[in-house]
C-alpha cells in the first residue's frame, strides 16, 4: 500500500492526540465506526463562547489513512464555529490527503465524526439552554 | 577431450549470460514472495511487473495480456482446456503436426464431450488449405495451429488461418514456442488477423527453464488450470517464480534485439549445412517452404536415425532424432507421418537446430564427420543385407 506524503506525515506525527475530560466545559464527543469494520474514531471538540471550536482532540483505531484523516480534521475544525465545521466534506479530506479509492471510507468516517461531535454538542447545549 | 558441439537448440538453449546475471539477485538472500506486502515482497512484485512489460514489448502485446506459466506445455494446456471449459462442447480442430502438449490435451477434451479433428498437412508440412476450409465449414469452436513446427521448422500462414477460423466463429490459438526469437512474432498484428492467444517458452530463446507465457486477448474467456490464491489475474495460481520470470523478460528483450542479425547468420549456416547434406545424398524435409532459419530436418534413407544420432553424439555432435521434446518414443515422428513420409524414411530422420553460438567451422567439421559416419554405417548396412 503506497501512502501519500501527507498521510505518512500525519501518521508519523499525529496532531492533537488525546482526550478531554467529558465533564469539561464545552466538550462534546463524536465516536463513529466499529471495531469489526476495522476503524473507530473518537473526535472531541471543545466549544467556547459564540460556538467557536477552540480545541479538538482525537483517538483513532484504524489504518494509517483513518489516523491521518482524523488528525487532519482536528486541525481543520479549530477556529471554526460548529456550523462551519459541518461544512467540511469528506471529498476535501480525501483530496488533501490524496487518499486512494479504497481509502475514501476513512474520509467519510472523519466527516461523520465531525457530525457526531457537533450533534453531541448541540444535544448538550440544548439541554443546558432549556431553563 | 574437446567440448561437444550443440546442434539441438529446438530442444532447449543455454541461458544467455545476461539472463543469468539478471536472475542471480533473485536466487539470493534478497528475494521475497511477490504476494507479501513488505519491501521484500514489493521488490519481487516490481521485478515481475518489469519482466511482464519486457515480454509484452518483445511481442508487441500489452503487459496485461501476458499470463506467466511454468512452461510452454502448461501454456498450451491452459489455453486449450481453459477455453474449452468456458464453451459448450463442440468441434475442436488442431493440426496433426502439433507438439504433444497440444495434441494430448486436445485428445483429453474428447472425454468432456468434444469432437477432435486433426487438420491435415501437405507433403511439405503446411496445413492443407482445402481441408482447413472444409473443417471451418463445420464451425469448430476452438482451432489451434502452431506458428512453427519444432521438428521441420516449417512456418504456417497463421494470419490467414486465424482469419478463416475467426470468420467461422472459432477462437484461435497458436503455439509460437519455436517461432519466438527465430522469426518476427508480433502479437498485435496476429491479433488483428484473428489470433487470440499465443504460447511461448523462455528456455527455447536463451532464457531459463521454468518460465513461459500465454499471451491472451482479454476478450477470450478461459478458466484456470491451477487454482489456489488467484495469482496471474486468477488464471494461474502459485507463488511466482521470480528469478525465472526475470530471466524470461531479459531473454525476450535480447531475442528481439538480436533477431535480425541472428536470423541472417543462422540462415547462412543453414544454407551451408543443407548444401553439404545434399552433397552427401540426404533427403531434406520441408525444404520447399518457408522454415525457421535454424532448423534442418533430414534423413539418409536406410540409415536408422537413432543409430546415426548415437554415432554423432560419440563423435561430439548433439543432434536429435524425431521429436526431442518428449520422452522416449519408438514411434516414427508423427509430424513426418502426417506429411506422408513413409515410416522407414521417418525412422531415419535427424534434426539439427542451430543456435547463436554455432559457427561455420563447426558446420564444416560436422559435415566431414557426418560423411565418414554415414559411409561407415552404409557399409555396415550393406554387409548386413
Amino acid at each position: 500500500m503506497a501512502y501519500s506524503v501527507k498521510v505518512l506525515d500525519h501518521y508519523e506525527n499525529p496532531r492533537n492526540v488525546g482526550s478531554f475530560g467529558n465533564e469539561e466545559e464545552g466538550v462534546a464527543t463524536g465516536m463513529v465506526g466499529a471495531p469489526a469494520c476495522g476503524d473507530v474514531m473518537k473526535l472531541q471538540i471543545k466549544v467556547g463562547k459564540g460556538g467557536v471550536i477552540e480545541d479538538a482532540k482525537f483517538k483513532t483505531y484504524g489504518c494509517g489513512s483513518a489516523i491521518a484523516s482524523s488528525s487532519l480534521v482536528t486541525e481543520w475544525v479549530k477556529g471554526k464555529t460548529v456550523e462551519q465545521a459541518l461544512d467540511i466534506k469528506n471529498t476535501q479530506i480525501a483530496e488533501e490527503l490524496a487518499l486512494p479509492p479504497v481509502k475514501i471510507h476513512c474520509s467519510i468516517l472523519a466527516e461523520d465524526a465531525i457530525k457526531a461531535a457537533v450533534a453531541d454538542y448541540k444535544k448538550k447545549h440544548a439541554e443546558q439552554a432549556v431553563p | 577431450m574437446f567440448a561437444p558441439v550443440y546442434f539441438d537448440h529446438n530442444a532447449t538453449t543455454p541461458a544467455d549470460p545476461a539472463v543469468v546475471d539478471a536472475m542471480l539477485p533473485y536466487l539470493s538472500l534478497q528475494c521475497g514472495n511477490a504476494s507479501s506486502r513488505h519491501e521484500y515482497g514489493r521488490a519481487a512484485r516490481r521485478a515481475i511487473d518489469e519482466a511482464r512489460s519486457k515480454v509484452a514489448a518483445a511481442l508487441g502485446a500489452h503487459a496485461s495480456e501476458v499470463v506467466f506459466t511454468s512452461g510452454g506445455s502448461e501454456a498450451n494446456n491452459l489455453l486449450l482446456k481453459g477455453a474449452a471449459g468456458c464453451l459448450k462442447p463442440g468441434l475442436l480442430a488442431v493440426s496433426a503436426i502439433e507438439h504433444p502438449c497440444v495434441l494430448r490435451p486436445a485428445e483429453q477434451l474428447r472425454k468432456r464431450g468434444w469432437t477432435l479433428h486433426k487438420l491435415t498437412v501437405d507433403a511439405d508440412g503446411r496445413v492443407d488449405a482445402a481441408n482447413f476450409q472444409a473443417v471451418m465449414a463445420a464451425q469448430p469452436r476452438i482451432v489451434s495451429v502452431m506458428l512453427a513446427n519444432n521438428e521441420t521448422g516449417v512456418i504456417q500462414d497463421v494470419e490467414a488461418l486465424a482469419a478463416l477460423a475467426r470468420a467461422a466463429g472459432a477462437c484461435f490459438h497458436t503455439d509460437a514456442v519455436q517461432a519466438v526469437g527465430k522469426i518476427a512474432v508480433d502479437f498485435r498484428r496476429l491479433n488483428a488477423a484473428g489470433v487470440q492467444a499465443l504460447s511461448l517458452s523462455a528456455h527455447k530463446i536463451g532464457g531459463p527453464k521454468g518460465a513461459a507465457a500465454l499471451v491472451l486477448d482479454k476478450r477470450l474467456d478461459i478458466e484456470p488450470l491451477i487454482a489456489g490464491g488467484g495469482h496471474e489475474r486468477g488464471l494461474r495460481s502459485g507463488t511466482e517464480n521470480v528469478a525465472a520470470i526475470v530471466g524470461f523478460g531479459v531473454a525476450c528483450e535480447l531475442a528481439v534485439a538480436r533477431l535480425a542479425t541472428t536470423a541472417a547468420r543462422l540462415l547462412a549456416l543453414r544454407g551451408r549445412l543443407e548444401r553439404g547434406l545434399q552433397g552427401l545424398g540426404a533427403t531434406l524435409f520441408g525444404q520447399a517452404v518457408e522454415r525457421l532459419p535454424n532448423t534442418v530436418y533430414f534423413a539418409f534413407p536406410e540409415l536408422d536415425g537413432e543409430t546415426l544420432v548415437g554415432q554423432l553424439d560419440r563423435a561430439g555432435y548433439a543432434v536429435a532424432s524425431g521429436a526431442a521434446c518428449s520422452s522416449a518414443n519408438p514411434e516414427p515422428s508423427h509430424v513426418l507421418q502426417a506429411m506422408g513420409v513413409a515410416p522407414e524414411l521417418a525412422r531415419a530422420a535427424v534434426r539439427i537446430s542451430l543456435g547463436g553460438s554455432n559457427t561455420v567451422d563447426e558446420v564444416d567439421a560436422f559435415l566431414a564427420t557426418l560423411q565418414a559416419t554415414v559411409r561407415r554405417l552404409q557399409q555396415l548396412t550393406a554387409m548386413a543385407v
Binding site: - | S35, Y40, P100, K209, G230, C325
Partner: protein, 403 residues
Amino acid sequence: MLKLPIYLDYSATTPVDPRVADKMIPYLVEKFGNPASRSHAFGWETETAVEEARAEVAKLVNADPKEIVWTSGATESNNLALKGAANFYAGKGKHLVTVKTEHKAVLDTCRELERLGFEVTYLDVKEDGLLDLEVFKAALRPDTIVVSVMLVNNEIGVIQPIAEIGEICRAKGIVLHVDAAQATGKVAIDLTALKVDLMSFSAHKTYGPKGVGALYVRRKPRIRLAAQMHGGGHERGFRSGTLATHQIVGMGEAFRLARLEMGAENERVRMLRDRLLKGLSDIEHVYVNGDMEQRVPHNLNISFAYVEGESLLMAIKDLAVSSGSACTSASLEPSYVLRALGREDELAHSSIRFTLGRFTTEEEVDYAIRLLHDKIGRLRELSPLWEMVQEGVDLSTVQWAAH
C-alpha cells in the same frame, strides 16, 4: 549494523541458501541440456542431475524416488493430487473431506471440484487450530474418496495429527492427501510409517528456489491419478512439460541440506522464537494463536488487542512480517484461518505472523522485541478502544455506530 527491514517471513518464502544457488547456476549455463533429450550427452547429464535430486527429495521424507513427481510448486501439487485423485476415483464416490484452515491451493481446488459435481465437507478446527479426530471420523462417509489435511499450517504453524488420520483413512480405503509445503525441514516425515497416499512439497519454503515442487504418489498400495497437464508424457505421464533442471537441482540440494541440518537448525530457531515470545509476553493483552506444543519451531502468530492491523504493519515496517495469509493478500481481510479458530473480529486485534529461519539472528529478534514494545504502546495511546478498556468499559457491551 542490522539490515532493515528484518526478514521474519520465512513461511511466505525462504531465501535461496547460497549453497543451493551455487549448485543451480551451472545448470543454467554449461549443463543446460533438456533432460528429455535422449540422443546426446547434454540430455543425459541433466537427466542424471534430475534423478539425483529426486533421490534427495525422496530421502528427506523416506520415500522411494519413483514415488516423487516434479511439479512447478505446491500449488500445482495440490491441484494435481486433489483433481487427479477425485477424477480417477470418481466411480467409487464423489465426497471429499478437508479442513477450513487449509491453504487456498487446497480450498480453491475443492471449490472447483464442487462445481464439477463433487461434494466437499470443510471441517472446523478446535480453538488451538488442531483437528478434532472425533469430528473428523464423523465426517467420513461410505462415498468419501479423498481426504486432504495439511501437515503444518502456514499461518499458525500447528501440526495436524496426520499419523492418526492416516490410520483412519487407510482402514476405510480413502485416499489421504497431505499438503506438506510448510513441513519439510521443520518436522520429520517418514512416509514408510505414515499412511499417507499423496503429499505436496514446495522448494521455496525450504531454502530452495521458487517455481518447483513435487508430489509424492504412493506406489504400495498404488495410488492412481488423472494427469492434469498433458503432453510429452514426462514424469511417467503424471505431469508433462520440460523439466526445469536448475530448479530441480536446487530443490534436491535444499532438501539434502534440510535432512542434514534440520536437527540443529530447529533447536536454534526454536530458541530464537521462544526468545521473541518471552520478549513480547510482558505486553498486556497479547494472545498466541494456535497450539504451542503441536507447532513448528519457527512460527509465532500473535494477536495484539486494540491495535488495528494495517497501522501496525505500517508502524513496524522495519520488520518484514505478514498478517493474514501472505500468499495472496492484497487487501487486509481478517485471516480465514484465525477466524476458524474463533478469534473473532470483535476482539479488535491485529495478528502478526513471525516466522524465523536459517538466517535469523538474536540481534534481529531483540530489535523486533524493542520495536514492537515501542509501536504497540504508541498505537494504543492512539486507540480509543484501548482507552475504553483502561477505563473499565466492556467493549462487547458497546453499541457501535457501524457504518
